[in-house]
């Protein structure tokens, strides 16, 4: 009986989706809010990349919420898996793997920070860069050459990065503005690294937070993997 209800729901849902194909308009969005965002992106935030302007300026609260969700997921993941000593997982890595890891690590670090810090100018930003940072720190675990990131350090980084994001938002409040208002947007010329005021700082906080959260989650997974499987 519940199966029947499920199938009925699925059929209705599929019908709804496919009938929408006929009624929705494509290729000519109303742009009621979007056009205004495009027009104000440079003046309001100083960012050449409008998506970054939306993420950190216009909808900064969404980004803060998203960081909090990652933090919640990492915290809950840690609660579920508990803290366990890393076990000796897998065979020791070969020389090539070890050398490759040592070569790749600084490279990925540089690329990650580059993507984080240029998010207001080019595609990319805190999230994409943060993923690469997390991968860089996770590389030794993956290659079996090391224990991975230090857990206490990760906690400090994730806690402080999130706090810095909120403090930058509150700084605007204390200087007479509104929570999460972009500051100092008129310093520096457009398309330069040191432009867009506090936006690169926010992206740095986002990148570090995302990197630390994801590295923590990965480490939890891998550690559980080495345990007693």
């Amino acid at each position: 009986m519940p199966r029947f209800a499920t199938v009925l729901f699925l059929a209705g849902f599929a019908f709804l989706l496919f009938s929408l194909t006929l009624t929705l308009g494509f290729g000519e969005p109303p742009m009621r809010a979007g056009q205004g965002v495009l027009d104000q992106a440079v003046a309001g935030t100083g960012a050449a990349n409008a998506v970054s302007a939306v993420l950190l300026g216009f909808r900064g609260l969404d980004t803060l919420g998203e960081l909090s969700i990652l933090f919640a997921a990492a915290t809950a993941g840690g609660l579920v898996l508990g803290h366990r000593r890393p076990g000796g997982d897998g065979p020791p890595a070969g020389a090539i793997l070890q050398a490759g890891t040592r070569l790749l690590f600084p490279l990925m670090l540089v690329v990650g920070f580059y993507i984080v810090l240029h998010g207001h100018l080019t595609p990319g930003g805190g999230f994409q860069g943060g993923v690469i940072l997390a991968a860089a720190f996770f590389l030794p675990v993956l290659a079996g050459t090391g224990a991975g990131p230090d857990h206490a350090l990760l906690r400090v980084v994730e806690g402080l990065a999130g706090t810095v994001f909120i403090l930058i938002g509150l700084a605007a409040l204390w200087t007479g503005g509104v929570f999460l208002e972009p500051l100092l947007v008129d310093r520096g010329a457009l398309h330069e690294l040191f432009s867009a005021g506090t936006l690169p700082l926010l992206y740095l906080a986002v990148g570090l937070k995302v990197g630390a959260e994801l590295a923590g989650l990965l480490a939890h997974m891998a550690r559980a993997g080495g345990g007693e499987a």
Partner: protein, 490 residues
């Protein structure tokens, strides 16, 4: 100012693990301190002269930025979030796992921040983000006890909730396709474009998505499972608080964006089904926790019935029912935590813990609706509203409420009778105290509601009138540029 209601619990949650490592006392104090500060902010903002007002976060005018809409209803929920989180603050379970305790407290703070955000936010996607934050935090709390059943219940809850979230996001995409905006006030101006079947489809998607947390009828299978495996404090937090905030989001959507009659009827029908189904299951339940969980589904059904009534009367009734349940259910869950679950083991429990027994009777009488307790007013308002509305569905709902009341009387007083019976078999463990004291605070709130009923009545009337006024909302959020209402740019 109200941004602190979200920002402070978030900062406290981020810093809690770090501070805990630095100093034990700092780790214990930072969470409650943040919540007390939120309470102070709410009290400071509660000035009828300036309410309602809107805040443009980031300094960008609507509809470009995210708007917080602060009215009496939002403030009430913000205050309730902080107060209830303080009262239901996770306690040391005595298992010596300090790390787990810190994580549970972090998650509770995140839940509080998300709940405040849900109450304040006036932006559809921002609401989705806060809803997801509340969801992820509650997945973690559902698994907090670390038993196999807790993991299984948390996983099933996560899957159902994630399914709802995906469908809700599809609803948001459809709305964006049609209108090109996410701001609720802007959407309210454009509500005409969402009258057709497309808008209806979007609302159904959102209803399924937000209905999961609101314990709405077809998507509430997780309720008895999760409440059965968490600590009673978490169960009280989820049943009392988070469900109401999901309801608040749906009510805002109904008032502002989807004022169609047909949708209200659908909500009424789902509410009636939840009410009858929940109370029947509660009547059949064999342990106190599950009885309370199913009764919670039933009460949320009543909340939906109330909010489906048109106009201010419906909002007033809905607010009264929702707040009543918000105070009662955590109190009952705390008592259940004192006594353990099984109905059979409860014989004579009230004789050994007279205060707890008294509180249980008080809560039960109010839940059933004995005048002059607030539960009476809640049911009275819904029934008079339904009688005024009339129609086949209205009468059906009235019969359903009466049947549900009979069921409530039956199972609650069966339990009360057992509590006061002469216990002869095994002796349950003595009450540990803390839970009863907290439940006593909830009991005091119920008594205070009786004493201050006239003043509260005026307040609730204003609140309902304000919350039901879509034009006031739009006016408060601010003027939209005319071209953004008439047509698109290209």
């Amino acid at each position: 100012m109200m941004a602190y209601a979200v920002a402070l619990p978030l900062v406290a949650a981020f810093l809690l693990p770090v501070l805990h490592n630095a100093s034990r006392w700092l780790g214990i104090l930072v969470g409650p301190a943040a919540l007390v500060a939120v309470l102070l902010v709410v009290f400071q903002s509660w000035q009828p002269a300036v309410l309602p007002f809107a805040m443009d976060l980031g300094g960008f005018a609507p509809p470009w930025g995210i708007t917080f809409y602060v009215d009496a209803l939002a403030l009430l929920f913000c205050g309730a979030v902080a107060l209830m989180t303080l009262l239901l603050w996770p306690r040391d379970e005595g298992d010596g796992d300090a790390d787990a305790l810190v994580r549970r407290r972090s998650l509770t703070l995140l839940l509080a921040a998300a709940a405040a955000g849900l109450a304040l936010s006036g932006d559809l996607f921002n609401i989705y983000v806060f809803y997801e934050l509340a969801a992820v935090a509650s997945y973690g709390l559902a698994a907090e006890r670390g038993t196999p059943a807790a993991y299984a219940a948390a996983f099933r809850y996560l899957m159902l909730s994630a399914l709802g979230s995906v469908i809700a996001l599809a609803g948001i995409a459809i709305i964006y396709f049609e209108t090109g905006t996410l701001n609720l006030a802007h959407l309210s101006l454009l509500a005409g474009e969402l009258q057709g079947p497309t808008g209806m489809a979007a609302f159904l998607c959102l209803l399924v998505g937000f209905g999961v947390k609101a314990e709405l009828f077809p998507v509430n299978a997780w309720v008895p499972e999760v409440y059965g495996v968490t600590t009673r404090r978490t169960a009280g937090l989820l049943a009392g608080l988070v469900s109401k905030l999901a309801v608040l989001v749906l009510v805002r959507l109904l008032v502002l964006v989807f004022p169609q009659e047909g949708l209200r009827d659908a909500l009424l029908l789902l509410g009636v089904l939840g009410l009858i189904g929940g109370e029947l299951a509660a009547w059949k339940a064999r342990d106190m926790t599950r009885m309370l969980a199913f009764s919670s589904i039933g009460q949320l059904g009543l909340v939906f019935v109330a909010f489906s009534l048109p106009g201010t009367a419906g909002l007033v009734a809905g607010i009264v029912v929702a707040v009543h349940h918000m105070v009662l259910k955590p109190g009952l869950f705390l008592l259940a935590g004192q006594w353990g679950g099984g109905l059979r083991g409860l014989a004579g429990a009230a004789r050994r813990a007279p205060l707890a027994g008294l509180l249980f009777v008080l809560f039960a009488l109010s839940l059933v609706g004995l005048p002059p307790l607030p539960g009476f007013w809640a049911k009275f308002l819904v029934l008079t509203g339904l009688a005024g509305q009339g129609g086949g569905l209205g009468w059906l709902a009235m019969v359903a409420i009466l049947v549900a009341t009979v069921l409530e009387v039956s199972y609650l007083f069966r339990l009360a009778g057992r509590l006061y019976s002469r216990g002869d078999d095994e002796v349950p463990a003595a009450a540990t105290g803390g839970g009863t004291v907290t439940a006593g605070v909830f009991g005091a709130l119920v008594v205070a509601a009786v004493v201050f009923a006239p003043a509260l009545w005026d307040e609730v009337q204003d609140m309902g009138a304000g919350a039901g006024d879509a034009a006031l909302y739009v006016r408060t959020v601010g003027p939209m540029v005319p071209t953004m209402i008439s047509g698109g740019a290209p």
